[in-house]
Symmetry: D3
Subunit: 197 residues, 6 copies
C-alpha cells in the first residue's frame, strides 16, 4: 500500500536543497540530522521561507527547551493532545515519537492523542491538558477559575503561561502543517515503540 511512499511529496510548496539554504539554517538542519539520524520534514518544509523559519524555531525553543515547572515530556504531551484535537497528522506522529522517547513510555502518546482523559497519566497532568485544550479550542472561554484549577495542582502562574503558550504556538504549527500538507517522516512511526528494558 505504501510501496511508493518514498515518492510522496513532503509539502505542497517547493522544498529547498540544503546547499541553497542560508548557513544558519543549514547548520541547524545538519545538527538535527546528526542527532536524530534523519531530517524531520518540518525543517525542510519551513525552510522555504528563511525569516519565518528563524522566528518559528526561536519561538519553539523558547517554549520547549526551557527549564521550569513542566518536564520536557509534559511539554510534548501538550503538543500531542492539542494536535490530536486539531487532527494534525504531522504533529501527532512526530511529537508522538518525541513524547514516547522523553517519557520512556511506548503507550502514552497514542493514549494522549486519542483521548487524554483515559490516558495513564496523573491527575495533575490531566489538569494541565484540560487547560491546554481550552486554549487550543475555546480560548475565549478562559476565566480566572481555570488559573485557580491549575494552582490547586501546584502549578505556578509561570507554568500556566508555559502551558497556554505551547498550546497557542502549536495552534500556529498545526495550521502550517495542514496548509502545506506536511508529511511525517516514516521514521517517526516506530520511534520509542519498544520500552527500554
Amino acid at each position: 500500500m505504501n510501496s511508493t511512499a518514498k515518492t510522496h511529496q513532503i509539502s505542497r510548496f517547493p522544498v529547498p536543497e540544503l546547499k541553497d539554504l542560508p548557513a544558519d539554517i543549514r547548520d541547524r538542519i545538519v545538527a538535527v540530522q546528526q542527532k536524530s539520524g534523519f531530517v524531520p520534514n518540518v525543517f525542510l518544509t519551513l525552510a522555504h521561507r528563511a525569516d519565518e523559519f528563524r522566528a518559528f524555531f526561536a519561538y519553539h525553543d523558547a517554549l520547549m527547551e526551557k527549564e521550569g515547572g513542566l518536564t520536557k515530556a509534559e511539554r510534548e504531551m501538550i503538543v500531542v493532545a492539542t494536535s490530536g484535537a486539531n487532527q494534525c497528522h504531522y504533529c501527532v506522529v512526530a511529537h508522538g515519537a518525541i513524547l514516547r522517547i522523553r517519557a520512556k513510555d511506548p503507550l502514552v502518546a497514542d493514549q494522549v492523542a486519542i483521548n487524554y482523559r483515559k490516558a495513564d497519566i496523573t491527575p495533575r497532568q490531566k489538569a494541565m491538558l484540560d487547560f491546554a485544550l481550552k486554549v487550543a479550542t475555546d480560548s475565549l472561554g478562559i476565566a480566572d477559575a481555570d488559573f485557580d484549577a491549575l494552582r490547586a495542582h501546584g502549578f505556578s502562574d509561570e507554568d500556566t503561561w508555559d502551558i497556554g503558550a505551547i498550546a497557542a504556538f502549536f495552534a500556529l504549527s498545526n495550521r502550517m502543517a495542514n496548509m502545506t500538507a506536511m508529511r511525517p517522516n516514516e521514521e517517526f512511526y516506530l520511534l520509542g515503540r519498544v520500552p527500554k528494558s
Copy 2:
C-alpha cells in the same frame, strides 16, 4: 509512567473468570487466545452479558469475516476511521493493530485514525471512508448521491451496505467501549509496527 499498567482495570463492570463462562463463550475466547497469544479485552468485557456477547460477535463476524467486494484490510480501515472520529480509544488501538497486520503496512492505521483524507490510500478507499464517516456522524444526511459516488468507484450496492453496516455496527461498539471504559491490551500498540521484509 505505566509501570503499574497491568493493574489497571479492564472494564468499569465486573469481568468474569473464564471458568465461569458458558462453554460456547469460553471456547471462542480460548480459540482467540491460541491464535493471538492473548485475549483481547473486548471479549472479557462483553462476556459480562452472555446473550449480548453472542449477538455482538455473531453480528461482528457477519460483517467482518464475509467475502465480498471489500478486502479484510478495507473493512478494518472503516473501523479505524470511524472509531477515530468517535475518539474510541479501544477500537483505534485494537483495530489499528489488526489493520497494520492485514494491510501489511506499519503506517496506514495511524494515518487513517488521525485523518484518512491525507492517508496513503487509493481514491476508491477514500470514497469508501467518506461514506463510512457519513454513516457514523451524519447518517441523516445520506442521500442517493452518496450511493452514486460509490458506484462511480466500482462499488456494488451490496458493497455499500457492507460499508454502511460496518460503520453502524462500530457506532454500537465504540459506545460500549466508551461506556465500559474498556482498556486496550498493551500488546496491540506494537503489533504490525515492523514491516515484513
Copy 3:
C-alpha cells in the same frame, strides 16, 4: 399529499418476498404479523441479509425483552429519546407507537422525542435519559460521575449497563434505518393515540 403513499418504497435496497426467506426468519415475521396485524418494515428491510437479521434481533431481544430494573416502557423511552436526537424517522415513529402502548399514555412519545427534559416523566426517568443521550451523542465524555448520578436515583450498575447498551444498540439501528431510508408503516402513526378509558 400522501395519496400514493402505498407505492413508496420501504428501503433503498431489495426487499425479499416472505416465501424466499429462511424458515426461522419467515416464522419470526409471521409471528409479528399475527400479533400486530401488520409487518413492521424493519423486518422486511433487514431480511435482505439473513445473518445480520438474526444477530440484530437476537441483540434487540437481549436488551428489550429482558427482566430487570427498567420497565418495558422505560426501555422504549430510551429508544425514542435517542432516536429523536439522531433524527431517525423510522425509529421515532415506530418506537413512539410502542411507547404509547406500553406506557398507556398518548402524549409521552411526542414529548420524549422532541425534548425529554420537558416531558411528563419522573426525575428518575429524566436521569435515565440523560445517561442514554450521553451514550448516544457524547460517549467519550462518560465519567464515573455519570454512574453516581444514576445510583442516586436507585439504579443498579446492571440497570446502567442496560440503559447504555440500549442507547448503543439504537445508535446502530438508527444508522441502518437512515442508510436504507427505511420507511415507517403508516399504522404506527395512529397506534396508542387514544387513551384507554
Copy 4:
C-alpha cells in the same frame, strides 16, 4: 403517567384570568375558543403582556392568514419544520395539529418535524423548507443563490419573503415558548390524526 396532567402549569409566568383581560384580547380568545373548542395555551401565556400580545398576533396574522403563492398548509409546514429544528415542543405539537388539518394528511406533520427531507412532500416544498431552515439556523449564510434556487421552483421573490419571514417570526415564537416553558394543550396531540374518509 399523565393522570395529573391537567394540573401541570401552562407557563412559568402568571397566566391572567379571562375576565381581567382588555376587551380586545378577551374577544380574540373567546373567538378562538368557539372555533376550536379549547383555548390554545399560547393565547393565555402571552396575554400576560397585553401590548406584546397584540403585536405578536398582528404579526402572526400578517404572515399566516394572507393570500399568496403559498398555501396555508405550506405555511404551517414551515412552522413545523423550523420548530422541529429548534426543538420547540409547543410549536411542534400545536402547529403539527394545524398542519395535519390543513393538509388533510395524518402523517405529514410528524415527517416534517423529524426530518423534512424524507417527508412525503414535493421537491418544490422541500426547496421551500431548505430556505426556511437556512433562515432559522444559518441566516448569515443566505446568498443570492438561495433566491435563485427558489425561483427555479416557481417561487416569486414575494413568496421568498413570506417563507423567510415566517421562519424569522417563529424564531421569536420558539424562543418565547421555550423561555416560558409553554405547555401544549393535550387536545393538539390527537387533532387531525384520522384521515378524512
Copy 5:
C-alpha cells in the same frame, strides 16, 4: 474602497418611496428622520410590507421603550450582544451606535459585540447577557436555575421576561436583516464614538 458606497443597495427587496407609503408609516419615518437626521435603513426595508412593518415596530416599542427594571442602555446591550452572536451586521452597527449614545460610552458597544464577558460592564449586566444569549442560542436549555441566577442579581421575573423577550424579538430581527441583506447607514459607524466631555 467604499467610494461607491452610496450606490450600494439597501435591501435585496424593493424599497418603497416615502410618498407611496400609507400615512401612518410615512409619519413614523419622517419623525425618525427629524430626530436622527437620517432614516435608518430598517424603516425603508421593512416598509415593503405595511402590515408587517406596523407589527414589527409595535413589538419593538413595547419592548424597548417601556419603563421597568432595565435601563434603555441595558436593553440595547442585549440587542448588541445577541446580534453579535448571530453575526447580524445591520443590528450590531445600528444598535451599537444607539448603545454608545444611551450609555454615553464610546467603548462599550464594540466590547459587547465581540465578547461581552470581557466588557467593562457590571456583574449584574453580565448575568443579564448570559440569559439573553441563552435565549438567543440555546433556548431549549433554559431551566429554572437560570431564573434563580437572575433573581440573585436583583432582577424581578418581569425583568427576566423583558430580557428574554428582547433576545427573542431580535432573533426575528437579525434573521430579517440577514435575509434582506439590509445595509447599515454609514452614519451609524461614527455616532457616539467621541465621549461627551
Copy 6:
C-alpha cells in the same frame, strides 16, 4: 461606565516596567510609542517573556511588513476577519484600527470583523478571506481545490502561503491575547474613524 477604565489591568500576568526591559525590547517599544503616540498593550503584555517577545515580533514582521502580492491593508483584513471569527477582542479592536488607517476607509474594519461576506470589498478579497478563515477554523479541510480557487483570482502560491501563514500566526496571537486577557488601548477604538477628506 468606563470612568475607571484607566485602572483596568492590561494583562492577567505581570507587566514589566520599561526601564527593566532588555535594551532591544525597550528600543522597539519606544519606537512604536514615538510613531503612534501610545504603546499598544500587546508590547507590554508579551514583554513579560523576552525570548518569546523577540520571536513573536520577528514572526509578525516577516509576515506583515514584507512586500508581495498582498497590500498591507489586505494583510490587516486577514487579521481582522480571523480574529473576529475567534472572538479575540484585543486583535479585532487593535487591528481594526490599523486596517481603517491602511485602507483609508472608516467602515471596512467593522464590516470585516462581523461578516466579511457582506463587506464592501472585492470578490478577490473575499476569496482571500475564505482561505484565511479556512486555515483559522478548519485547516484540516484544506485541499488542492482551495489553492486553485485563489489562483483563479490571480494569487500566486507565494501569496497563498502569506494568507495562510498570517491566519496561522494570528491563531497563536488570538490565543495569547485571550489567555492573558489582554486589554486593547482605548486609543484604538477611535483611530481612523473619520475619513480623510
